[in-house]
Structure formats: C-alpha cells, structure tokens
C-alpha cells in the first residue's frame, strides 16, 4: 500500500526531512549516485527525446509523457523527469523511501506520484506508461526474466524501457565490489552480489525473451582524473545502460 502524504504523522515529517536531506546530499551516503546522475540523465533524456521526437531545448519537453521510475529511492531521477514536464510515478519496494521522496518533491515544488509497490504488482494492476526507467535494479532482483517481463507489461505498445546494470567480469568485480564497497566505502558492504551481475549479451537476451527489442547500449565510464562519469559507445566493461522498446 502506498502512504499518501496527507496521512503522514506530522511528528514524523521532521524525520523524513532529515532523511531526504541525506538522500540529496551530494557528499553523503548516496554520493556515487549523485556523481553518476548527470551522465544517467544525459542518456535518459536523449533516448526519450529521440523516441518521442521531443526538443530538449524547449520548455517542458516531456509534457504529455507518463514515466515510471522503478526503485525511485529519494527521487533522484523522478524529480528531473517531473521538472521536464512528465507525469511521473515513482515506485519503491522499500516503504521508508516513499515519504522521504514525497517530502523532497514538495520542497522542490514538484507533483510526483510516489508509491510503495513493485513492478510486478503495478503490472498486475494494468497501468501503463510511455517510459519505464529501470536503473540499477535488475542486478538486485531474484528473477530477472520475470521482472523484465513485468517491465514490458508496464509499457504502452511502442513504449521505451531504459535499463542500466553492472557487467560481470573481473574488472567489474574490482571496481564495483572491491573499489566502491571496500576501498572507497561509497556503498555499504554487501550492496552487490557479483554473481547477480549481468553481461550486456545476457541482458540483451533477457530483454528479447521478455518481449522487448533492444535498440541501444552505452557504457558509463568513470574517469578518476576528472572524477566524473561519461558515456562511452564502446566501454561497457563495468556500468552500462540499454534502451529497448515494446514493439507496437
């Protein structure tokens, strides 16, 4: 069940505001996500603009589009999508994230429909979207094929599915687990299970089995000199992202 904001206990709000501040602190617990965010947004906005022939230089370019953000957390992707004019539903399986994201959206002056639910439950309800954002989730689920099939069901025919995850090889083990979790402590230990990581070929295969047609893939590459992420057409060795469509 979702927890609508107007039913939230007012004494709880201060707590949620503090948690929202933590989610949105660029140097806090979610620093790696904040660092990756501009690069993810560049990819997402370009893909959506391409698919729906929108001009990113125009005001509210995503007006009229319904976007679902799965695993929305504090709203790091949902808010930018809403700011670009889309009607956004943010879903998270972790109930505690919902009021936190709601509090922050209100501070940002954005109307976003945040719900405590899962992709499978939403798909069951028959709701559909123009775009499904499925970022850094698939490596955490127990049944990737079942999950991706639910993502397809959530799309209107012709809809766009953007899915990012982590490759499985010795380099990604070094970078994502030893580097990010052990050395840099960017992520809590045990955040990732290496065996659940998926190679781009495996993901393309799974997307196809789920009834989606892959149309693009790019790497997210971290540059330790500029300390920033960029998109690469070739280097998909650690973090990467794919775009696929539900055939019309």
């Amino acid at each position: 069940m979702q927890a609508p904001l107007n039913t939230v206990d007012p004494t709880e709000i201060a707590k949620f505001e503090a948690m929202a501040a933590e989610w949105w602190d660029p140097n806090g617990k979610f620093k790696p996500l904040h660092m990756l965010n501009p690069c993810r947004l560049d990819y997402i906005t370009t893909q959506i603009a391409g698919e729906y022939e929108r001009d990113l230089m125009a005001q509210a370019p995503f007006k009229g589009l319904r976007i679902l953000d799965i695993g929305c957390g504090g709203g790091l992707l949902a808010e930018p999508m809403a700011r670009l004019g889309a009607k956004v539903v943010g879903a998270d399986a972790a109930e505690r994230n919902i009021p936190v994201a709601q509090v922050h959206a209100a501070q940002s002056g954005l109307a976003i429909d945040y719900r405590h639910t899962t992709a499978e439950a939403l798909a069951e309800s028959g709701e559909q979207f123009d775009v499904v954002l499925n970022m850094e989730v698939v490596e955490h689920v127990a049944d990737p094929l079942g999950y991706l099939s639910a993502c397809k069901t959530l799309l209107k025919p012709g809809g766009l599915h953007i899915c990012s995850t982590i490759n499985r090889n010795s380099k990604s083990y070094m970078m994502a687990i030893i580097g990010a979790e052990v050395v840099m402590r960017w992520l809590p230990k045990g955040t990732h299970e290496w065996s659940k990581f998926i190679t781009p070929e495996e993901l393309y295969d799974l997307l196809g089995q789920a009834g989606l047609t892959p149309v693009d893939r790019k790497g997210f590459v971290f540059n330790p000199i500029t300390w920033s992420w960029s998109l690469s057409p070739r280097d998909l060795s650690v973090n990467y992202v794919t775009a696929s469509v539900r055939p019309a």
């Binding site: 609508p4 501009p38 947004l41 906005t45 990113l56 700011r83 209100a106």
Partner: protein, 420 residues
C-alpha cells in the same frame, strides 16, 4: 489508475522567475540575457534606478572587451547595438617606460594580424554598453527588471532562495546570483568571506581627445609608479588608465584640469599631438579581492562579487563575462537534464570551472604589476630582456595575443561564438 497527487506539506512560494540576479551593472544583465535566451525566466534586481544608468552622457569610462567577450555579447544579441560605437584594437604596444627618459628600446608589439580570429578586442564606452543592456532587457519578455531597489535581506533554504527588497516586497526563485560588485552584499549576507589586499596604488581614469589618429593601437607604458594604458576609442579619442602611488594620485586628482593635464602630458608624450580632456575624471584605488567561495547552496557569485582583480590589463569585465558564460552554460545544461539549478552539485561545476582560472589571473596580474611597478635596476634589466625575448619569439607573442584576446583556457560555448 492514477492516485491523487500528493498535497504539498511545505508551502513553496511560486514566482515567474527561477533565477534572481542581484546587481544591474554589466555582468548581471549579460547573465540575464544569456539565460533568457535559453528559455529561463530571470528577475534582475538593481539598486540603481534605470534612468540613472540610461541618461549618462559620455563620462570617460570605457572597457577593453577581449575578443571572447565580444563573441559573448554577439551570442546574446547585444553586439549589434554596440558595434557602431566600438573601436577595434588592432595592435598593442607594451613599453617599459621611465618617466623623463622616454620608453626603453625593448618593447612588445602584438599585432592582431598574427592570429586568425580578428582584432584582439574592442574599446567600448560604458554608456553605450549600459544603454544597450537596458534596451535588450526591456525588450525581452523573459526578463523582469526591478530597478531602484536595494536588497535588505536574503534567505536560502530547501528548494527556494528569496530576497526582501527595501520596499518590503519579497521575491523568490530557485537560485540567487550575486553580481553586485566587490562589496557584494549577496556574498556578505551568505557569510562568504573574502581574501584580498590593497595596493598603494590608485588608478586615475579619463578620456582624451587628441590631434592625431591612434590607428587602433593600444599602448601600455610600465612606469615605476604603475602602468599607464592608452586605449583607442572611436574617433581621435583615447581612454587613459593611469596608475600612481595613492598619495601622488590624490595630489594629482586635486589639481584643476589644466594642472592634471600638465602632469599627464610628460608621461603620455607627444606621439598623438595636442591633448584635451574629454568627459569626467575618475579615481579607483587598486585592490584585489577574491571571495573564499564562489558558491553556496542556491547561490552563485559572478564578476567582481567573486573576484575583483587589479584592473591592470583591463581583465576585470572580461573575467566577469567569462563567469557569466560559464554559469549560463552550467545552468542551461543542468536545466535541460531536469536537474535542480540551485543544487550545490550543479553549482559546484561552475565553481570548478572558474575558480582556478580566476585565482591564476589574480595572482598573475598581481605579480606582473609588482614586477613592473618597480625601479630596481636589476628587475628593470631582467624585464627588459624578458620583454625583448618574448617579442623576438613569435610563438610566445602569439600566445600573449591569444591570452589578451581571451581565447585561451577552457572557453565557454558562448565565447566560442556558439550557442549553448
């Protein structure tokens, strides 16, 4: 099925403008035009009434706009209104002068013909720039100008930045930009401290009419007391920036016009024929001041509010316009991604871009000034030799020309003549 939209629990003040710019000088309006051009609504708050800014006749103040700055003005649609009043700077001659003895035989000669881009820059009078900015802002439906209003208080919080005006009005947006000069109230109210030092130097500024044409040549004489710059204006006129030790400057400034000219004449020489004063005389004590941070949550500083450099090479406005171009680019790209333009991680990109550049400029102009405002014979010999070497080596000379034209470093798109 849609769920009902959540009701906001925090009252967000709505405003037609996302960006509030405090300061109506030159950088503030330039930023407003650059942002409005990419579709972002902007409010400019100016402590001075627009009539005061608009009705100024020729008062002797002028700017040396580097080529990169001219490109920025062209990109925001302002250049057309200024072009007819702009004097191209075709050559720069730098001489190590010695009062009473004439210039040293070693001098630097920079000719725009050595680079492909065009003139190194343009001299534009303050009055033409101001008027063009006011007209362009008035014509732009995305810009709201609140003039003749001081900011008395400001507040930045989660999601919103707001200022209170002297008349009690409150204006709010997502980002507050301070372009309110060296004594920036915006920076002070945000608790941003400054680092700086004064020089025992004061710049005397005026415009002259002269008998002979200047042929678009700018001159810089390095005198022991400070540099004397002669910068070509349209017609047979030049703008003078003349630095002296502060006590001496005070003495000279107290003289009547005839006495003032009698002091200037031997320093200036006779190469442009008879000289007469045109417009008013100004004095500016020279000092250097850098804000310890160019940003804070929902706040950014540009121009002199961020860094007031020694105006030795006319780099103050040029550095400010470079801030403007960089900030406009950072904010526009963030806005196209749907990012919150007031978020610290967005503003951090601007600070990273500009901070190194401006600190380097401040230190370089400071060192340059210390080296040349000196009568130590050893330093003199060394710098004469240095100038001679730079002049003899075309690569170094072209480097200096490109630097003077503002074409070096990580140039913002608006300064490359491109749109964001």
């Amino acid at each position: 099925m849609d769920n009902p939209a959540p009701r906001p629990i925090v009252q967000v003040m709505t405003t037609p403008s996302d960006i509030l710019i405090v300061g109506g000088g030159l950088n503030g309006p330039a930023l407003a035009l650059a942002l409005a051009q990419t579709g972002q609504p902007v409010t400019v708050i100016d402590a001075l009434p627009s009539e005061t800014r608009a009705d100024a006749g020729f008062d002797g103040r002028a700017y040396a706009l580097a080529l990169a700055s001219q490109r920025l003005l062209a990109a925001v649609g302002l250049w057309e209104a200024v072009e007819d009043h702009a004097q191209p700077m075709l050559e720069i001659k730098v001489t190590d002068g010695h009062a009473g003895r004439g210039p040293s035989p070693f001098f630097l000669h920079f000719d725009h013909a050595e680079i492909e881009e065009g003139p190194m820059g343009y001299m534009v009078e303050d009055r033409h720039l101001r008027r063009a900015f006011l007209n362009a802002m008035a014509e732009n439906p995305r810009i709201t100008l609140v003039d003749g209003q001081r900011v008395v208080a400001q507040e930045t919080g989660a999601g919103v930045a707001s200022v209170t005006l002297a008349d009690g009005r409150e204006v709010s947006g997502r980002l507050l930009v301070g372009s309110d000069g060296r004594q920036s109230g915006t920076a002070t109210r945000a608790g941003i401290k400054r680092t700086g030092w004064g020089y025992d130097q004061t710049a005397l500024v005026c415009a002259l009419e002269h008998e002979k044409p200047h042929h678009g040549i700018a001159h810089q004489f390095f005198m022991p007391a400070g540099p004397l710059a002669i910068l070509p204006l349209t017609g047979n006129r030049s703008s003078i920036v003349w630095s002296e030790r502060s006590a001496e400057a005070k003495r000279i400034n107290a003289l009547d016009d005839a006495g003032y000219m009698a002091e200037l004449h031997p320093r200036f020489g006779d190469f442009l024929g008879r000289l007469t004063l045109a417009g008013q005389r100004f004095v500016y004590p020279l000092n250097l001041t850098i804000a310890n941070s160019f940003i804070a949550p929902r706040l950014a500083l540009v121009g002199d509010a961020a860094h007031g450099v020694h105006p030795i090479a006319g780099q103050g406005l040029n550095a400010g316009l470079r801030d403007v171009a960089a900030l406009a680019e950072v904010l526009t790209l963030a806005s196209r991604r749907g990012e919150d333009i007031g978020a610290i991680q967005v503003l951090e990109r601007y600070q990273q871009w500009r901070r190194f550049d401006t600190t380097t400029l401040a230190l370089a102009t400071d060192a340059f000034n210390r080296l040349f405002s000196n009568d130590n014979p050893l330093l003199r010999a060394g710098r004469d030799l240095g100038l001679g070497l730079v002049n003899a080596w075309p690569g170094a000379r072209r480097g200096f020309i490109r630097e003077a034209a503002g074409l070096t470093g990580d140039l913002p798109r608006l300064m490359q003549g491109r749109q964001i």
